[in-house]
Symmetry: C2
Subunit: 358 residues, 2 copies
Amino acid sequence: MSSNTTSADVQWKGYAVTDTEKWDELKVIDFEPKKFEDYDIDIKIEYCGVCGSDVHTVTGGWEGVMLPVIPGHEITGRVVRVGPKVTEFKVGDRAGVGAQVCSCFKCVPCNTDNENYCLKMVSTYNAKYPNGDIAQGGYSTAIRAHERFVFPIPNELNLEQASPMLCAGLTVYSPLVRNGAGPGKRVGIVGIGGLGHFAIQFAKALGAEVIAFSHSPEKKDDAMKLGADEFVVTGEGFAKDMQGKVDLIICTADVSEGIPLADLLSTLSVNGRCIMVAIPDNSLPPLHSLQLIGNGAFLGGSHIGSKKEALAMLQLAAEKGVESYIEMLPMKDAGKALKGVKDNSVRYRYVLKVDIDI
Amino acid sequence: MSSNTTSADVQWKGYAVTDTEKWDELKVIDFEPKKFEDYDIDIKIEYCGVCGSDVHTVTGGWEGVMLPVIPGHEITGRVVRVGPKVTEFKVGDRAGVGAQVCSCFKCVPCNTDNENYCLKMVSTYNAKYPNGDIAQGGYSTAIRAHERFVFPIPNELNLEQASPMLCAGLTVYSPLVRNGAGPGKRVGIVGIGGLGHFAIQFAKALGAEVIAFSHSPEKKDDAMKLGADEFVVTGEGFAKDMQGKVDLIICTADVSEGIPLADLLSTLSVNGRCIMVAIPDNSLPPLHSLQLIGNGAFLGGSHIGSKKEALAMLQLAAEKGVESYIEMLPMKDAGKALKGVKDNSVRYRYVLKVDIDI
């Protein structure tokens, strides 16, 4: 029994990976959430999306997994308890949690709507709070988080539709708005998957012209349906006729060596930007200074988004009818979903429906 | 006799490299400039700086050298002839030419003060004009260029002082101003050499707080004299205490594997930028997405600067007393100067004084 169990006020259940070699064999375990504090909110989970991060974590692709781990950070449900200082939510509200559950609240990033870059951020799962409490994710019956990291879900969105937006959607929305996606801009979206299918829709909703890049010709119909103005297969020499024509690229492809990085950079207009939002296990392809200098290009990275951006994204999704393409599974099929994400067969996001009682 | 010699109206002399294996043994050769056109200006050269690009080119470190090559693109002298449509210069004016002598004048970059990113740009040497005329550089008696690529030298600046600013100075000034160097910003300058010694001065002249990064502790005195507020030796673990503290980095270090890229990126504030301005022969160190995503950082490149920026830079240099640290040599010692740049012993720029007659 760990030293902090004495502070536990509840026991919840979740589907946990207990061995990275058997990452698709999840088992229901009991767990204790963080100690309840004044700004905390408990949400009874109804749905949780399955993100590429879940796969990287449970397979050990990313270093530092703490077992057992309950994955999941695209969480929606209803508020069942609020701390005495909570002002934004009341019991019964529809609410969600994304990939972050805490930050220091004191640093420059925290005070400039950049809490998603707080150096002391606590991720939603596979993470520890400063007091040692373990954060477990949304393949579970409930989650507890500080209200800053809880998002109200607009009435226009179903909870299952909203779930994948809270990580996949926000991860592409933030770099789109921070890098000027809008009318008059040509935005390239690389990779038509969980993130990419949102990126096309949000770029379009923001008013940009959208070019979808994929190595899979069969994704053209989906890309055009999602709102792309143009579809480009990233085969040999694809960038030749596109030099200097794209203002911003959001690269969602979750591969390393497979990204045609130099070609993509060559398509950028002067001082254009290519933003990586996936975190493949391995390094990116080697880059030569010349590939950045020729057009004054930028290669950037972006990590989820701020609460301010999450609220704006959900509002835009509600207004413009941005749609999550989901395949729903009962939560007991989490292993099947993880496999579908790993082998890239999902179109485009699994959402798990909770099937165990709190 | 080549097909375009019939159009030659003059013959000039220059110090040429004729063999990349003997890159420090330059020989005086005769050469013909491009065909004289209506917007062209002839400058009788007095001084030419020695740039790292000269070394990369003549050693064959960069691919595609066309021999014989007369290097040099930090050129100052006096106008001796102007075409009938030239409006900005008259015979006798003090003038200079940097690393570019032509562009297409028609594309979006050319029409948005980004002619330094024109896809059809003609470099000052080791380059061909669209009509096949060869561009030779400033280790020579004279140069011919379209007036858009000729810069008037303010009276406050000596020609020998102005020379190195036309490539080294502009190459750092442009990314400084394009990326917001100014009051309230912390700007890191990596590498205290030909480019870096200008970068420190220009960043300071623009009002930024300046942190000089060098792997050579013995450069501290120079860095502080140049205006740095802080000096950091880039040894093991140097970035540990600097996480998130630098808004913009200009990396002038002309090495590949030796750049502590991941550490430098970690010092950036949220959405901060690290701009590479050197073009080492080899690829940059491998980069992992996580190194960009953790703080939403950008790795960028920048190529010289526009004429608009060149004029603003020369004005700022004149107003703020930015000083070129130069070692003057007669032009016949060009080989010695190239060696001094290659082995990094120059402090901080060689300027060659013309010693042959036009």
